[in-house]
Structures are given as C-alpha cells and as structure tokens.
Amino acid sequence: MRRMPFALLALLFLIPASFSDGPLYMTGCCPDEALGAGAAPDQVIAYASQRLDVCNPDGTARISCVVEETMHGGTGCCLPYGGLDTDGDRIEYARANPGDCGTWPYDPVITPCTVERPGGDIMPGSETPAPTRTPGPPPPDWVPIALLAALTGLGVLMIFYLLSYLVDAEHMRAMATSEMWQVFITAVMIAGFVGADAFAGEVVAPAFGEAFLPPGEESMKHTEYAVIFTEEMADYQWGMLKDFTNKVVVPMGSLSALNGNCWLFGVAFSFSGCSSINVPFSSASLAARTMSVAVLALNSQLVLLKVASGFFFPVLLPIGLFLRTFHVTRGTGGFLIAFAISFYFVYPLGVLITQGFYDSVGVGEPEFPDINAVTAAESWAVETMVSTFDVPAECDPFKTYDYPETDEFEGYGYTQKQINRLLKEELVDRLLYIFMIGGVFTPALNVLIALSVIRPLARVFGTEVDVSALARIS
C-alpha cells in the first residue's frame, strides 16, 4: 500500500469525474490498489489483499469492498452493477444478486453492492476510496481570534494609559507605554504565525503528501496532511491486525484446541495431540495484543492532531498572545504560545517527516500463511458418517507424537510447522516494522519532539514550565 504509484492514485480520483455527472452518495472503501491502471467503469479490477469494512453512513448507497486476488472463491470486490471478471466474462452484481459478494471461509457475510445517484438511478459507480472516518467540523480560524486578543490587550493598556493621567501616575504611564511595544511585538508574532502556517501548508506539507490531496482540493493545511497520513496508517494497521487475527491467530487457536475422545462401553480415552500448538498460539495472541497497542497509539496521535488544530491553536494561542501583552502574565502567555506552536506546527510536521522516514524503507506486505484448521463452517456431512477418525485439519489430536511432514517443512513436526510459519521473515519482520516502528516508535517520537520544543520556545516567549508530566503520559 505504501508503494502505490501516485499516477494510479491520481487516475482513480479522475474515474468518478470521468463518468459521473453528479454527486454520488458514495461511501465506497475499496483500497486504491483495487482499481487497476486505466480502469474504465466496466473494466475489472485488480485487487489488493486487504479487507475493508462496509461503508454505509446514510443508507442510500453501499459498497462492500472485501478484496482478494480473485472473484472466484475467497473474497472479492463487489463492482457496482456490472463488470468483467478476469476471464472476461460478464459478472452481474446488483441488489438482486447479493450472493456474488462475500467473504469465505471465515465469515460468509453477504453484502449487497449498490450504488445510487441522489436521484435514485443505479449506475456503475466508481470505487472511489472514501474515508472510513467522519471528517468532523472544520477547525475554527485562529487569525480573527488572535487579532481580537491582541486588540483586547491594546485596549486594556490604553485604559491604563488614560488612567495614568487621571491619577497622575508617571510610572503607570511608563509601564503602559512600554507594554504597548509588546502589543506591537504580538502583532508581529501573529503575522509570523500566519506566514508560518502558509509556509507549512503550501511548501512543506505538499512535499510529503501531495498525492494524498483529495479531488477538487488545491491545497490543504499541514495538519490535514498529517491527519490523512495518520488515518491511512491507522486503517492500514487495523486491516493488518484483523488479517493477522483471522488468518493466523484464530486458525492456530482452533488447531491447538483440537481434542480427541474415544469412548467405548465405559472406557474412555482423551487425546490432546495438538496441545503443543498452544506455544506458538500464545505467542501469536500476545503479538496481536501488542499490535492493538500500536493501533491505539496511532488513533491517539490522530486525536491529538485534531485537538491541536481544533483547540490548541485557535484557543491557547490567542489567550497566550493576550496574556503575553502584560508583564505580570508574560510567563504564562509565553508558555501557552509555545505549547500551541509546538502542537500546531512541530507535531504535524514531525508526523509528516517521520512518516517519510518510515515510507523510505521498502517493506512489503506481510505474507500470511494458509493454515488448514477446523472452522465452525466445517461441513460434517454424510461422508463423515462412515469415515474413520479422520480429522479435517493439518493436526491430528489422535497422533500424539510429533510426526515429520514431507512438505516444505520436511523434517519438522506439526508444532514446529506452526512455529516456522509464525517466524517466517516475510510475516514477522514485516509486521514488526509496520507495527513497532510505524505504530509505536514513530507516534512516541512525534510526541517527544513536540514536547521537547515547548521548553526552549517557552524560554523565548518568557518563561520556563516543567512539562515532564505530559512527557510521562506520552
């Protein structure tokens, strides 16, 4: 996903514009790789190996996007109302044929595929990747609030100045005069922040994420780039976690829980030949838990970015500018300004830069093993009526010795087979990088960078405040 060609990405944004002449109630969530290069509306699509959730926020349109390599067996991306399969045969998808879309064998959920225009017509829509998250209200514009704060400070000083004539207080007049310079400096700061905001959004951020510019948008704020990056990464990791759980943890757990029973006229034997698979299973389970920590960390980063753009900068910066105007509150004002700058500029740019470092390492998609385990959907039909104690899985609990296999894991028993699968570098190395570096290390690094900048900035603006408590929380 990280190496998707930007041209392809740009093309898929053009697809809805090429044949749709009106807004679509589209909530499709097909991954970008689901659309092949040059895909026309009725062309079949290459699929990526990633499963996404059904998106249906308002009930008028739905696309289910469960994606695999082929439409026949496994999972398939549901083309809305028509398309061609890999053999060139026409495939009809519609509300009338919901059974064509689905996921098996783990979860044969049938999801219909429909795309409707606002007018109700059904059309072959495009699988425009829509965000899986609600965008939320835009953050308030901080410039008017900051200007208001500066003007308020100026107004208070003018009152003090006039009062100094009233009470004939020379020192009061001198204080008010000197503090008016601070108002001027505050105005210069506001101008500087406006310039920095524009620079960060127009120059720095596009250098990292221009390809992620949504259709119709000419530019975005740097915080919006950082939010999109983080959302994509969080959704990607969540997909990986689900795949790891469904393809590795669940079947491995099922294998380890296989138990054989033999009862005959009061004599009973119990066989747990597969119990040793609990060793790799518990490791896999612990790995899933660690991955969830990474997903939580990324979601927290996402929330923090939105808090920074929606609350820290529009609120704390104007308050800080106002307080900085007066000598007695300069320290507090300086701290608030430093905090707002750190989390509005440094933190999102840090996210973009560390994401660039992360992307610069070309790690492929993790290859999940195909574990043949007994599932709940196992069909124990007529042929099992007269069969022997054959176990339809790659581990037989009745065989209590770790017999060697003759496949690629020749010489290893069934437990070692699972261990080898788990430790395969195409799986574990890539997952480690995706989750430990992308999900744990980089969010922590971003927060630490932002917090470490607060202290020197606060000194510049007037005070030194201990923020180690926040660093401990991070």
Binding site: V109, V250, G260, F311
Partner: protein
Amino acid sequence: MVCPDIGWVYSLSLLSLGVTAMVVGLAYALGQVLNNPQFNVWAKTEIYQVFVSFFIVILVLFVHDSFCSFRYSDLAGLAGGGQEYAHPEIGADDNMMDSAGKYLANVGHFIKTEMRAARALYGVAEEASRYSRTPCMPAITFCLYGTSGYSVRPYQGLSSWVQVLGTSLYTDTASYLTVLIQMALLAFISGGGIMAYLPFAIIIRSLPMMRQFGGGLLAICIALFIIYPALLVAESLFWNPYNMLGDAGWGTLVDAADGISRGFQYVPPLEAGGALALAMTLASALSVVDIAAAIGVAASAGIVSLAVMIHGLTDVWTLSELEKAVGISMQAASISFLSATFLFSLNIIAIGASARELGRLLGQEVDLSRLMQVI
C-alpha cells in the same frame, strides 16, 4: 451545577478587612506609644496592602459572579458556533459553571458507553473463544457409544481480542475515573467552600513575613475558581469527542454497549441451513435407518447450535460485526484517553503555572500608592 450563594464570602471579607485594619491600626498606635518607627512604617505599608487584598478578593468574587451570568450561547457565538452536546444537552442559557459541568458529564457519558461496549465485546469474544463442537464419529453410530470423535474450539483465537479489549477497558477505567475526579473537583469548586480561603488570605497577606503565603492562597483560589472552569468551557466550545468518532461510529458503539446479551453466530446460516436441508432430505425416506441417519447428520452438523442460532438469528454478533465494533471501540478508547487524561493534565499544568505566576505577583507589595492617595 448551581452557582452558589457567596454573599457570606463578601461579608466575611469585609469582616477580615475590618479586623486586619484594626490590627494595623493597633500596631500604628503602639508604634506611636513606644516611639518605634518600625511599627509605624510597617503599619503604613500594610494598610495599603490590606485594601489591595480586599480589592483583589472583590474582583475575584465579581468575576465568579459573572461566570454565573455569561450564557453559553454568547460564548459559542464568539467561538464560531461551539459544539453540540446531547448527553446532557448544554443549553443556550446555561452559565459557565453549568456548561463546564455538563461538558464533563458528556465526556463521562462517552467514556462510560465505551466501557460498556468494551465489556460487552469482551464477553462476546470470551464466549466465542470457548465455543466447542464435538461431533460423534463416525456419525453412523449416532453417539450411542459415547461422544467419540474430536472436539474443536474454532474461535479460540478470539481470545486475542479478549486481551485487546482488556487493554482498552483498563485505559477506559483510568479515563473514567479521571473524569469523575474532575466532576468532583468542579462540584467542590462551584460549591463555594474554597472561597473561605479568600477572607483568610486578606488577613494573612498583611501579617509579617506571611505576604507570600497569603498571595499564594489568593493565587490558588483564582486558579481553581476562575481559570479551571474557564478552561473547561473553552474545551467544550472547541472539542467534542462525539464528533471525533462520528455518528456511524457512535451508533456502533451504543449498539455494542446495549448488546451485552447478544450471542455469537457460531454456525453460519448457510452451513446450518445446508446441514438441516440435508437432514430433511435424508428424513424424507421413511425407513427407520434413514431417519436415524438424518438425526445423526443433523447432530453432526450441530443441530443444537443451529437451534440456538435460529432463535437469535437476527440478533447475534457475526465475526465481521464483532471486528468492526472492536475497531470502533479502540478508536473510542483513544478518544477517551485524550479527552479525559491528556486534556486534564494540560488543565492541571495550566492551573499550576497560573497559580505560580499569580502567587509571585500577589506575594509582592502592589505599588498603587498614587491611586490610593487619590481614593
């Protein structure tokens, strides 16, 4: 959160002013009697500071009273519209104290819903992970000779979700307790009890070598009574955890929270239906053997789980629904942590920094001699 009646604080402050002025006056008189200039200098300095302290206290009380007068709708207008809350709703006529309390209640409701959802999903995942099937083998024996065969727990792997949800629940519990602490702190502050320190500070600030302590008391009262509620109101105007999660996500979370009694779809409908159809097909033959075979097949296919599933066909968790709900729950856990713990820590740091700065200011002599001369 009702604005308390703090008329008694005004009265007590006046009393403190009078008592302190009397003490200073006595010290001045003593200085005159003993012909000690130090007493006189001290008395002249402190009489001004007493009135300064009194003025500061009146200012603090006035600002607090104004908190009870400002309307949330006015502040929301300044903030470009503010945020909408529904658990409970922050009304347009709510004052700042009420708004701050309701904001915390909304955050608490969010976190509690997430906790309930995580708990429900924890239970579903735990239950699913323990589901076990034991077909008789060979089925033709119809289990007449005991349950020989193999048993399997096809969803045992969902125990990993149990651990994940346990981590979420742990985080949510800490967040929820933090919100409850904040609500208790706000209730304590708005109850007005802390205001008792203000008249006390008037006296202490004028005692020898106690000005810094008195100034610190004043600073603490200002930071807690004015800055803390103001920070909460500011957060409520610009930050809404419900908007972060979105309507769809919130709906999923609420469904999960209310779905603690929902079961899990152990046997997918098609598979169960197919097994049942096969059993019925076999049973269409009238011989006893055929019927027995049908029973055996149905038993092998998990007819008990089929019956349970048919009973709850429309109200059971599927694996994909469970995964989606777990994903939403994890997002909500992150939002809860940021809303409750991180922002609260930020508030505490801001209050501490403000109290320190104000304490430095109020712990010094405020030189308004010219203004006092005019008065």
